[in-house]
């Protein structure tokens, strides 16, 4: 079952993937450096499907879309946080990484708690403690983007705006 990785407030996109790695293109290479500045063991230990639990203002800072790309490549299946910074939020949806705003969630989790996320219902279940957190469910079109795996596959499925 997915495990929780708990982070502090104001995790920046520099924290998620440092500037020195932006010259890399391969998502896997970005993934192995995810969160390196603030938690050097994260990328080594994270398992596919694990969930990040964040505090306020998660993803603040630069517009680098490599941030959600790195998290996805590292295996993260969703980020649940008290609040998100604007550009990271849009980028994550566009990359097909669920970013769920859920006030109160940060104090309800400790590292390695077992977690279940239900996107459609908007529930975050701490299986270890038994507590269930309610988030705003996504509007249908965003759920559609997430299900398709991001904005590009979503548009392709719906017939992209072709020019010339």
């Amino acid at each position: 079952m997915a495990r929780a990785w708990v982070f502090e407030d104001d995790v920046s996109t520099d924290d998620i993937i440092a500037g020195r790695y932006l010259i890399k293109h391969d998502p896997r290479e970005l993934g192995i450096h995810a969160m390196e500045n603030i938690n050097p063991i994260f990328a080594k230990r994270v398992k596919r499907g694990d969930v990040i639990i964040g505090g306020k203002n998660f993803g603040c800072g630069s517009s680098r879309e490599q941030a959600p790309i790195a998290l996805k490549a590292a295996g993260v299946s969703a980020v649940v946080a008290e609040s998100f910074a604007r550009i990271f939020y849009r980028n994550s949806i566009n990359q097909g990484l669920p970013v769920i705003t859920c006030p109160g969630v940060r104090s309800g989790f400790k590292n390695m708690h077992k977690v279940k996320v239900d996107l459609k219902r908007g529930t975050i279940h701490n299986v270890t403690t038994g507590k269930v957190f309610k988030a705003e469910p996504f509007p249908d079109f965003i759920l559609g983007i997430l299900r398709a795996g991001g904005l590009i596959p979503y548009l392709k499925r719906r017939g992209a705006p072709r020019r010339r």
Binding site: D10, S12, D14, D15, A18, G19, R20, L22, I23, K24, H25, E36, N37, I38, K56, N57, C60, G61, S62, S63, R64, E65, Q66, S83, A85, R86, I87, R90, N91, N94, Q95, G150, L151, I152, L155, K156, A160, P161, R162, R163, R164
Partner: protein, 418 residues
């Protein structure tokens, strides 16, 4: 119904009479900018969409600045790919590795005009708001959507007003104003909001100073930062503006979710301490901390008046032994002006390293990285852990005057004490 400047611009761009905060609108983008770290991903996304050509080449600006000139084979390949893309799409507004930082060349090139909607694939795109436009940063996939269609959806932001009063004292800079504000409201104090800077305190600032203030709007989470246009705006744009523009200002009874007043006449030099931009204190409280690197440059503070202020503070003194002072003028134009004014000569004579006009040491992917335990005093905008190299390095953000004073003293120094 009264509207703020941000609301008026989004209304115009989305073809509506009015918009209100919280509404989602699809707006036509007047200028779309991407640089060498964000354009490659945007182009990849564009091609995945099956689109080969940008919607309107004349509205696209591509700048090679973050890794300029390239220091790795991968980046050299990216630059070559971008040149090819620019040629194939016949994009006239291309700034190659020698031209400067995107947030300097876009205003210099006359792309950022009052009333316009300017979107950049870079978070500091809010800098352009200094010229009275709605400017905001997005990621690469959103930029690809703009490249394909010329449009993007926006949530109309609530507006927040900062009324600035008074005149800055000698050696106190626009950077100190914005650091003080961010220290007060916090790094998420304006998240999703449009922040507007008004009042006589802003009128007194040059366009360069306004750019410094707007540049750091995103460091408090703002979607855009705007200074209403005035005579200075017009003066700056004379001979630069690409096309006609119509000035837009907030209605006097427009609605703001928050209004704050700052009297800056007694403001002291400020510094943002590691590792948070809102960890702000007066320089006096942290003076004496030894520095290894002093960086003067970036889209926040790499303009001519910043370089002049620095040499005036240094006043013929040498950079302290063991300190590397790195200077990167924000653009080729700034470089040339500083060269002609003898400013670069004075910097080099003092022992500073003058780099090519680019992002340089700001974000740890080009020249001037920190080793473990090293301390940087930097005129840039972010001091996140590891931003300029080693996660064990420490970054203090300050004005050009404070950076220069610290460089010659070898320790963090109030510029009024040099």
């Amino acid at each position: 119904m009264p509207m703020t400047i941000a609301e008026k611009i989004l209304a115009r761009a989305s073809g509506r009479k009015r918009v209100s905060p919280g509404e989602i609108v699809e707006a036509k983008v007047d200028v779309a900018m991407a640089h060498d770290l964000t354009a490659p991903l945007a182009i990849e996304a564009l091609h995945k969409m099956g689109v080969k050509r940008v919607w309107d080449p004349s509205k696209v600006v591509i700048v090679l600045d973050h890794q300029a000139p390239p220091t790795t084979i991968e980046m050299a390949k990216d630059h070559a790919m971008l040149r090819k893309f620019v040629a194939e799409n016949r994009i006239p507004n291309f700034y190659d590795v020698h031209e400067g930082i995107c947030h300097q060349v876009v205003p210099e090139g006359g792309f950022a005009l009052p009333g316009r909607l300017v979107v950049g694939a870079d978070s500091h795109s809010c800098t352009y708001g200094a010229l009275g436009c709605f400017a905001t940063g997005v990621g690469s996939t959103d930029m690809a959507a703009i490249f394909a269609t010329g449009k993007l959806w926006f949530r109309v932001p609530e507006s927040m007003l900062f009324k600035i009063k008074g005149r800055l004292r000698n050696r106190v800079a626009p950077k100190d104003i914005i650091l003080k504000i961010i220290g007060d409201v916090g790094v998420d104090g304006a998240t999703y909001r449009a922040v507007e800077f008004a009042g006589d305190g802003v009128r007194h600032l040059t366009v360069a100073g306004r750019m410094t203030v707007c540049n750091m709007g995103v460091e408090m989470g703002a979607k855009t930062a705007i200074v209403p246009p005035d005579e200075q705006t017009k003066l700056y744009l004379k001979g630069r503006a690409r096309g006609k523009y119509k000035e837009v200002c907030s209605d006097s009874d427009a609605g703001y979710v928050d209004e704050r007043t700052y009297d800056v006449s007694n403001l002291e030099p400020q510094v943002a301490c590691p590792h948070r931009v809102d960890n702000v204190r007066p320089v006096r409280e942290v003076q004496g901390i030894e520095v290894d690197q002093a960086f003067l440059g970036s889209c926040t503070n790499g303009r001519l008046e910043d370089l002049i202020e620095a040499v005036e503070v240094m006043n013929g003194k040498k950079v302290a032994k063991g300190v590397r002072m790195i200077v990167s003028p924000a653009s080729r134009e700034v470089y040339m002006d500083a060269l002609n004014a003898g400013v670069l000569q004075r910097l080099v004579k003092a022992g500073a390293i003058v780099e090519s006009p680019a992002c340089a040491a700001c974000m740890g992917c080009h020249v001037g990285v920190l080793g473990p335990g090293e301390v940087s005093i930097s005129s840039s905008n972010r001091n996140f852990k590891g931003r300029q190299g080693s996660p064990e390095g420490k970054i203090y953000l300050a004005s050009p005057a404070t950076v220069a004073a610290s460089a010659v003293m070898g320790k963090i120094t109030d510029p009024r004490d040099v």
